[in-house]
Symmetry: C2
Subunit: 303 residues, 2 copies
């Protein structure tokens, strides 16, 4: 990896970590503001008489050795959860985190560059939105920077409509294709395929939603360009998803559409707990349980 100098020349890495963490934090603010606007602008639906939702921010931090289930990982740092229960967003969590420490021996083997001393730093933003209306798609977005003796970016965004809408699928993919194409014509096909493979439930033989992009271990064009791409993914998300929400949020829905949504959310739960690496990694490395499981839907059914 071209940037695998994290341990040998620490000064620029400290600056890079600070810039990345500060971007993820800023993106959290921007997205929360955009989502609150959607709450303000709701006109139709049975929730229109309710007060627009507002984010609650909960800072959290983790002291070394404070975690009984971290199986030997020593984790420090913290973050800020933002959670909103509103009239458009039934439950949306936007979590910023910046953590560092030492992986347990078990984990070291699985993480590039952590084999030697297990030390790591990670910062990122992760977001899952579960909507009141079954005709508004749920969404997930996550971007992160990781530093071990190597360094890389990862992330992506994927859309989970309860009933597929061709136009939503097209505009969501088109937005991320444009975003990728600015950096490398290979990115979109590679990252779309990765997303389709990742967000798949083998035990159901079903994809989680209509996909999007997913990338990891990105250390290809130098740190500046890779960081710029990761920022572009966040901006693209914040541009396209609110557009999709606006197109549907004032529509009514039926009880049977709501039931269908709750069943589809069950699949979301199955994916997150059975397969999602972020969830597994977070829970097993002693991460903040509330922050990690913020992604769970407010209500789900297995009738």
């Amino acid at each position: 990896m071209s940037t695998a100098t994290a341990q040998t020349d620490p000064a620029p890495w400290e600056e890079r970590k600070a810039r990345a963490a500060s971007w993820f934090q800023e993106l959290q603010e921007t997205i929360c503001a955009a989502f609150e606007s959607l709450e303000d602008d709701l006109a139709g639906t049975k929730f229109a008489d309710e007060t627009p939702g507002r984010f609650e921010f909960q800072p959290w931090d983790r002291e070394e050795g404070s975690d009984p289930h971290a199986s030997g990982s020593a984790l420090q740092g913290g973050g800020r959860m933002a959670i909103m229960r509103g009239r458009v967003f039934e439950k949306v969590g936007v979590n910023f985190s910046q953590v560092y420490g030492t992986f347990s021996p078990d984990f070291r083997k699985a993480i590039p560059g952590a084999e030697e001393d297990g030390s790591f730093w990670a910062s990122g933003i992760s977001l899952v939105a579960h909507m009141q209306s079954p005709v508004v798609p749920a969404v997930h977005m996550n971007t992160r920077m990781i530093v071990t003796s190597k360094s890389w970016f990862g992330g992506g965004a994927d859309l989970t409509p309860m009933v597929e809408d061709k136009q939503d699928t097209e505009v969501f993919h088109a937005a991320f294709k444009d975003c990728c194409d600015e950096f490398d014509p290979d990115y979109y096909p590679r990252f779309k395929k990765w997303c389709d493979e990742y967000f798949y439930l083998p035990h159901r033989g079903e994809p989680r939603g209509i996909g999007g992009i997913f990338y990891d271990y990105l250390d290809e064009k130098g740190w500046e360009d890779d960081f710029a791409f990761t920022q572009a993914v966040g901006k693209t998300f914040n541009d396209i998803y609110p557009q999709i929400v606006r197109r549907h949020m004032d529509k009514d829905w039926t009880d049977s559409e709501r039931e269908h949504q709750l069943v589809r959310r069950g699949r979301y739960v199955e994916f997150n707990l059975l397969y999602d690496r972020g969830t597994q990694f977070g829970l097993k490395s002693g991460g903040n349980t509330e922050a990690i499981l913020m992604s769970m839907p407010p209500e789900a059914k297995w009738p």
Copy 2:
């Protein structure tokens, strides 16, 4: 293991498999009948005017090689799901299965006696009950016989009250203590401890419920005695759980007790998908997804 003769002297093993499978099937009938009686006898609660629930039986079978996600495991056999959505039982699944085949190389390492050729036979009954009333505890029971080049029994039962009731905890544990003590004074302390360790959510720092017993790889006193113990566990369950249900089923409950129940069910989902070996084993070995995930609650919340 004293009975590790499964491959060398097949004749008695064929008879043993048949006897065990036939017992598990019979136990399914007995329990379903007992649960339908509970449905008939409901007198109080807001559901008392509804028709008593009845089990629907769905036989299923699995053809060799029909499963795209079995990662090389070849699984044959089948079973019968019994599922009831009633006025006492919001959703209860009682599944009988008898499957055999060859484990994929990945699995062989993890299963005693499967290292050589990966062949196995397994039969069992598994049951999860999610109740309408938050003051009636949920319950899980499972017993099984496995044959590779070795052979053993496993199983247990554990109770998950939404609000702990001291008397329920006592009678449930006392019943299984009596059951165990008939066979070995060490069984109850050993199997109770195993249950407490197994049904624990490390990421929450919480037990799943109030425990019960859990045992596995039981091959201690000869096949006949081990089988008799496994039968006794099933009978004990079928005796004690309906008593606990009757003690509470006619009581009213509040909306906030119902909310609490739905949140506690979220923990049940977390345990089953993150940690339960039966679920993981079933889904990853290409088992019947509907039968395995029958254990999921009809409704759950992560508010």
